[in-house]
């Protein structure tokens, strides 16, 4: 039976220490947090064997609220902290929580290289198209023409497509959801955690306060409604033309493939060196 909200609160939240949270009413971050917890609960992962690492920004607060091994790090570095943990303790389930600014601007280099290396990590990227916490400046995922505090007349740069970037960078598993599709999101996160290899779940989320308001997208309800209206499954997307896909959000699994995994290949090198009588200290 699926875990209830009250059970989640008691089992996984630092409800007596870290609340109230800092997120605005209607923020998508809470939906992502709920989906993550249902996924972890669905997999019956012991809390002591889960590590959450986050960067800076609204999403960076998430691990603070959760009762796992948690690390709130510096801007853009969630994945590098996660890499260190995973290499030192490969048995742990390491999940990096990032925002679009974290993962594709200041930490963009770490992101593509973690994917290329195909380290056995899970990366959840909440993409709300804006730097929300610092007041609504454009980020690398702000769409062309959109308004932000630093693009009052419309943004003149093109946006990254995070999931597609992960696919071309070599990640083993890549999926996308929106915060409207909470059930799907929990399922995709479950798959991502289970997958051996670098797994990315991009979640399109609403920052109605900083992004929605400036672009006449309405409040949280209207933005979620638009995700409902504009989402197309990966399967359906294959039958649509490029023009028809304009403005749509492709959701589902974009890549699920077997590639060499960094930690496993490293272990093989160690074994080979050992067989040759090399000095393998640790």
């Amino acid at each position: 039976m699926r875990i209830s909200v009250e059970q989640i609160r008691r089992k996984y939240l630092r409800h007596d220490k870290k609340f109230p949270h800092v997120w605005c009413p209607g923020c998508g971050n809470g939906i992502v947090m709920g989906a993550l917890l249902r996924a972890i609960d669905g997999l019956s992962l012991p809390k002591d064997e889960v590590v959450l690492a986050s960067g800076i920004g609204c999403s960076g607060r998430m691990p603070t609220y959760l009762d796992f091994n948690t690390l709130h790090t510096t801007h853009g570095r969630a994945l590098t902290f996660a890499t260190g943990i995973k290499l030192a303790k490969p048995s742990l389930n390491v999940i990096a929580i990032m925002g679009d600014g974290d993962a594709s601007a200041i930490g963009g280099n770490h992101f593509i290289h973690a994917a290329r290396r195909n380290l056995n990590l899970t990366a959840i990227i909440i993409n709300n198209s804006i730097y929300g916490m610092t007041g609504g400046q454009y980020s690398p995922t702000t769409p062309f023409g959109s308004k932000s505090t630093t693009s009052v007349h419309g943004h003149i740069e093109q946006a990254f497509s995070i999931a597609e970037l992960a696919v071309t960078s070599g990640a083993g598993f890549v999926a996308r959801s929106t915060v409207y599709h909470a059930e799907l999101m929990a399922h995709l996160i479950e798959m991502a955690i289970e997958k051996v290899g670098f797994s990315v779940v991009e979640v399109i989320s609403n920052c109605h306060v900083q992004y929605g308001r400036r672009n006449q997208l309405g409040g949280a309800v209207e933005m979620l409604q638009s995700y409902k209206d504009n989402a197309v499954t990966v399967k359906r997307a294959t039958s649509l033309t490029e023009e028809e896909l304009e403005g749509k959000i492709t959701i589902g699994v974009l890549a699920d493939r077997e590639m060499p995994i960094s930690t496993e290949e490293y272990e093989k090198v160690r074994q080979r060196a050992k067989e040759r009588g090399g000095n393998v200290g640790c």
């Binding site: 220490k17 601007a105 610092t134 400046q137 505090t149």
Partner: protein, 410 residues
């Protein structure tokens, strides 16, 4: 001249506008963001002719600033805390390029633990980078320092970037009445970016950042940069004199407050010195002969001014809002180093306070004054002290109990 109510961030932005900046590489970070947001608004409105790009990190932002300045363009950028440290590699690099530009740093404590609130660990960590460092205590000073900073930075005898530093929250978001100088007067004080100095140009190609192995050329250029920074101290005095004539506001390298007949003094930088001055007034009303010494420049370090002003005193309480872990407060170390050659010098008491935005109360100023008077009486230098109350300690232990961790008394 007009009077406006401006935040520290607003004053910095207006200073940049009056200075006629032409290029602004930017990256948001609390509590600096309002500076770039304000400038962005003016650029979008068309009231400023400046090019602005939001970069992907502070590292690339400072790189772009240094490179733009090398082409002979008046450049401005701003950051804070983690951003300043993330750019550290480039901060050291661009001073070696000897390029003039201005960087605002809105001081904020460093992770970890993570904080958004102010102290001076960020700026002190960059004290060896080769930037001139100007520390402000009011919003007026922020605006004026911006204009002074460009003039100083672009002087042929300096040609180094300048950091204008002020405290996050306490100054960045506090509105104060600020006298805004007329553009005409600013232009008179700050001529256009000099065209007769080395810079990238198509008809006179030159190289920057050349590798020099062997040590000889490296030593020469590093020491040249050091000498230029020392020279900036002399130039600073000349240009502040000029500034005073034009704008009737004086900005000595070290501000001396009620020091004339003083026997004791507080020594500190930044906006908390306003609290220090208030404490001085109260203590004087109670009969104390006490004043306050506030270095505005920390790089170049105002050795001569400090020796001259501190030598006649009996005791000085140095208040550091930074902590060089494993040693103590940076201002205390550097003040002690400045005073060491003197035969008669005051006793120094070292205090560390105001870390991560913690307040320094009036009672704590009185207690520090008491400590230094006692030290003068006994002739014994007191041990370094963290400003921390009994109640704070009890509260922390309570929090640690909730967190389920062991408590240890400091």
């Amino acid at each position: 001249m007009t009077r406006e109510l401006l935040t520290g961030n607003g004053a910095a932005a207006l200073g940049a506008k009056l200075a006629g900046i032409e290029y602004l590489p930017a990256f948001p970070i609390t509590p600096q963001t309002e500076v770039i947001e304000t400038l962005s608004k003016w650029i979008e409105e068309g009231s400023m002719d400046c090019k602005m790009v939001t970069m992907e990190s502070e590292h690339s932002m400072v790189t772009a600033a240094g490179a733009a300045a090398a082409t002979g363009v008046r450049t401005f950028t701003a950051t804070s805390s983690q951003g300043l440290l993330y750019a550290a590699e480039m901060l050291h690099t661009v001073t070696g390029w000897r390029v003039p530009f201005v960087l605002v740093n809105v001081s904020r404590g460093l992770a970890s633990p993570i904080t958004l609130e102010p102290d001076h660990n960020d700026i002190m960590a960059l004290r060896d980078a080769g930037f001139v460092q100007i520390h402000c205590s009011t919003c007026q000073e922020v605006l004026d320092s911006m204009i002074l900073a460009y003039r100083l930075s672009e002087d042929a005898g300096v040609r180094l970037p300048v950091i204008v530093n002020y405290d996050g929250f306490y100054l960045s978001f506090t509105r104060e009445p600020v006298e805004v100088p007329n553009q005409e007067y600013v232009d008179r004080f700050l001529p256009p970016f000099p065209t007769n100095q080395p810079r990238f140009s198509a008809d006179h190609p030159m190289s920057q950042g050349v590798a020099v192995l062997g040590g000889s050329a490296y030593s020469y250029f590093k020491y040249q940069t050091h000498l230029a920074l020392l020279n900036a101290g002399l130039i600073y005095k000349q240009i502040t004199n000029e500034f005073q004539i034009l704008f009737s506001r004086s900005y000595d390298p070290v501000e001396l407050y009620k020091l004339k007949d003083a026997e004791y003094a507080f020594l500190m930088i930044g906006s908390f010195s306003c609290k220090g001055k208030e404490a001085v007034d109260q203590l004087r009303a109670a009969g104390w002969k006490i004043g306050l010494v506030r270095p505005r420049l920390t790089r170049p370090f105002p050795m001569d001014e400090l020796r001259k002003s501190l030598a006649p005193l009996k005791g000085v309480a140095v208040i550091d809002q930074n902590l060089s872990l494993g040693m103590g407060g940076v201002l205390h170390q550097e003040t002690a180093a400045a005073l060491y050659p003197l035969i008669t010098r005051p006793i120094l008491a070292a205090f560390v306070g105001g870390l991560g935005g913690r307040d320094i109360s009036a009672e704590e100023f009185y207690s520090m004054a008491e400590t230094i008077r006692e030290a003068v009486k006994t002739g014994e230098t007191p041990p370094q002290r963290l400003l921390y109350t009994e109640k704070e300690n009890t509260d922390m232990q309570q929090l640690q109990r909730i967190a389920g961790t062991h408590t240890t008394s400091p």
